[in-house]
Amino acid sequence: MERKIRVLVAKPGLDGHDRGALVIAQALRDEGMEVVYTGLRQTPAQIVASAIQEDVNVIGLSCLSGAHNELFPEVIRLLKEQGADDIIVIGGGVIPDEDIPFLEEQGVVKVFTPGTKTKDTADFIRHKVSEKQGAAESIMSSPEKIEHIGIAVKNLDESVKFYTKMLGLKLLGFETVESEQVRVAFLEIGETHIELLEPTSEDSAIAKFIAKKGEGIHHIALKVDDQKERLNKLKEAGVRLISEEPKLGAHQNMVAFLHPKSTHGVLLELCQKVDTPMLSDHTDKQ
């Protein structure tokens, strides 16, 4: 079994506010990590010693007293001095935005300010740790091909006209996916497809996408044959998933999306053909 991620939650300096430290410690435990909390009033030297002794992957520093600019860099300096700078240092607390570039320059990998979801912090840690551990090697084989490219459109009929008439693509058919509140058209191009999506309600994700960004490329779908396994591995590695369980989408595909925040800006869909024809009647399914 793979070793659990180990985190030291530490309170440097004299600050006595540990509500945040205690909450994040428990949240990371609930996320499956092993967490050691130092307690209050730790000097940077004590924190580094504990981190080395406990063999942690990550140190999370919490400071609400305003002493972060002095104390956080000192922790990093001591880690380097003791050859333990493979330990990832993150921070949180009452830290003005204007201090963050300085702290990052000093080697704090990320500063989480008030209002951050604990889940985001956990995802970030998983991602960074797996980056460190797996550095170059890929954790998975390449998907088979691009299954389709999804394009959000305001008017499906007009768009279809353009793609068939002007570009000569072959229309495979229309479908309505009630659960997503969209009507889609599939067009064939070589070994892949273009999927045009039109919202059927103002609440649909596609409607919101268009309202915010206008018409355009909405997602790229990758064809895989090990969807569940991949999702698990990605999750483990700290990649944000939009939903953890695949859902039935259009075109008899089980689909699951990866959050653009984790994929450098693109909504990625992993899709896998449904084997049983019974499931193809999906229009009234959630």
Partner: protein, 550 residues
């Protein structure tokens, strides 16, 4: 009680109030609404039932559910007391004077963490912390600068200081001596509540036993020498900030209070000698009506405890007098101007709950210490409530509301259940040592966080109604070179002062700590010859040891 008897009781109360008014008149001869409707001092049910008289009663009368004074804010407003302090004594002195000029009616001093934990600015433990969350005080010299030009016989000062409360109080007394103000005339408050430091705030130094001794020494010393001083401010504020519920805030505060009363009784003090100088400190949080009810319930429980359980005879010993600060942890870093609205609502609840003094937080406090402008808006918030809304024109205006009365009763009941439980654990000191309150609070804090993350609890601007790409406002920055300046000042002081005298007084303090004598006079002697807070607490650290949490 028959109907006549009740009418008589009401008349007796009114007469009593009238006599008092001859000495201390109300703010106005007549209070009216905008439509000319006369506003009465207090409103009562048609039928003053036994149940009403027992649980609610008259304002300013046992069990004080309706407030500790008969006229409340018709007599005078609460003390507007903004907590301030940062950087050097000079800077803080300037902010104090500014706040007094702006119409603030009392001072409230924030100390930096080294001062609060008894380290000098040049101690390695103080790295990065000097002047950050409050003013840096190393010796009497700093205190003289801090209070320069502030008449200590006129202005009352609250000092948020706990483990080294004796040292700071001694410095205050010594500055008074230099101003020619005898200690009998000094008024103010020291927080001096060590139990909640173990539970929630974290600036403890010594283990519980010697800490309790320092506290009872202060009680005894002040009841003789500084009679107008609130010797302790038993605090639920930080318990709430750490994530507790309103009921837990009241329950754990009162459990701590019981522990102090029992420690003082055990030290041989007379209950009516020290109890009138006990004061409390609550949080003003978001759930509006629950907050109001919380104050009413706390007053009722406390007065019954003091009268019935501890046999106090002086009505002043029965009165739960409370300072309130709006809830810092409710402030958001996102869209900070929204915090002005939160603070207004929280402050209004504290006023309707009958607080004796109030601090309103500044909008930028989730980001840094407040700027002068933010601090002014916070003070103006109180002034608007006091002068413009009319909520101050009648006493306890929500009495008789089915909802508020029911909440008051239910909070009382749940608090009593907690108190019973803590008593069974051997009292607050023992419960703290077992980590009981800490666990209870953490559980609620974690629950709340989860609810915010799932959206079950809405925090405007944080998990709903967000703005992308916000710009932070301009924030107050403490000069990072202050640590150096303060260290240099200390070095000069150590050369200039009479070090033989310092050593002598510290030796006397060490001997005192080993024996049973009251330590206050010994600390005062050391302070007068400019022994530093680090030196004084250093001696006590060596003699008492340091607290290590479980």
């Amino acid at each position: 009680m028959g109907k006549n008897k009740k009418k008589k009781a009401l008349r007796a109360w009114e007469e009593k109030v009238e006599t008092r008014l001859a000495k201390v008149p109300e703010r106005k001869e007549k209070f009216e609404t905008s439509s000319g409707i006369e506003v009465e001092r207090a409103y009562f049910p048609e039928d003053l039932t036994d149940e009403y008289m027992e649980n609610t009663g008259f304002p300013g009368e046992y069990p004080y559910t309706r407030g500790v004074q008969p006229t409340m804010y018709r007599g005078r407003f609460w003390t507007m007391r903004q907590y301030a302090g940062f950087g050097s004594a000079e800077e803080t002195n300037k902010r104090f004077k500014y706040l007094l000029e702006q119409g603030q009616t009392g001072l409230s001093c924030a100390f930096d963490l080294p001062t609060q934990i008894g380290y000098d600015s040049d101690d390695p433990m103080s790295t990065g912390e000097v002047g950050k969350v409050g003013v840096a005080i190393d010796s009497l010299e700093d205190m003289e600068i801090l209070l320069d030009g502030i008449p200590l016989d006129k202005v009352s000062t609250s000092m948020t200081i706990n483990a080294p409360a004796s040292v700071l109080l001694a410095m205050y007394i010594a500055v008074g001596e230099k101003q020619g103000v005898p200690s009998e005339k000094l008024s103010g408050t020291i927080q001096n509540d060590i139990l909640k430091e173990y539970i929630a705030r974290g600036t403890y130094i010594f283990p519980p036993k010697p800490s309790m001794r320092l506290i009872t020494d202060i009680f005894a010393y002040c009841s003789e020498n500084v009679p107008k001083w609130n010797t302790i401010s038993i605090s639920g504020y930080h318990i709430r900030e750490a994530g507790s519920t309103a009921v837990q805030e009241v329950a754990f505060t009162l459990a701590d209070a019981i522990a102090y009363v029992e420690a003082a009784l055990e030290a041989g003090l007379d209950v009516d000698g020290f109890a009138p100088q006990l004061s409390f400190f609550f949080n003003g949080h978001n759930n509006f009506f629950e907050e109001i009810a919380k104050f009413r319930a706390a007053r009722r429980i406390w007065s019954r405890l003091m009268k019935e359980k501890y046999g106090a005879k002086n009505p002043k010993s029965w009165q739960f007098r409370v300072h309130t600060q709006t809830g810092g942890s409710t402030l958001t870093a996102q869209q900070p101007d929204n915090n002005i609205v939160r603070v207004t609502i929280q402050a209004l609840a504290a006023v309707l709950g009958g607080t004796q003094s109030l601090h309103t937080n500044s909008r930028d406090e989730a980001l840094a210490l407040p700027t002068e402008e933010s601090a002014r808006i916070a003070l103006r918030t109180q002034q608007i409530i006091a002068y413009e809304t009319g909520v101050t024109d009648t006493v306890d205006p929500l009495a008789g509301s089915y909802y508020v009365e029911s909440l008051t009763d239910q909070i009382e009941q749940q608090v009593l259940d907690y108190l019973k439980k803590i008593e069974d654990m051997g009292g607050a000191v023992s419960a703290v040592e077992q980590g009981y309150m800490q666990r209870e609070i953490h559980e609620k804090a974690y629950e709340f966080q989860k609810k915010v993350e799932t959206g079950e609890e809405v925090v405007v601007g944080v998990n709903r109604f967000r703005i992308e790409d916000e710009k932070q406002p301009e924030l107050l920055r403490v000069d990072p070179s202050l640590g150096k300046v303060q260290r240099a000042k200390l070095e000069q002081l150590r050369e200039r002062r009479d070090n033989d005298k310092v050593n002598e007084t510290l030796k006397a303090l060490r001997n005192g700590a080993r024996g049973q004598d009251n330590l206050m006079p010994l600390i005062l002697d050391a302070v007068r010859v400019y022994a530093t807070i680090g030196e004084i607490c250093g001696v006590l650290r060596e003699e008492f040891g340091e607290y290590r949490p479980v």
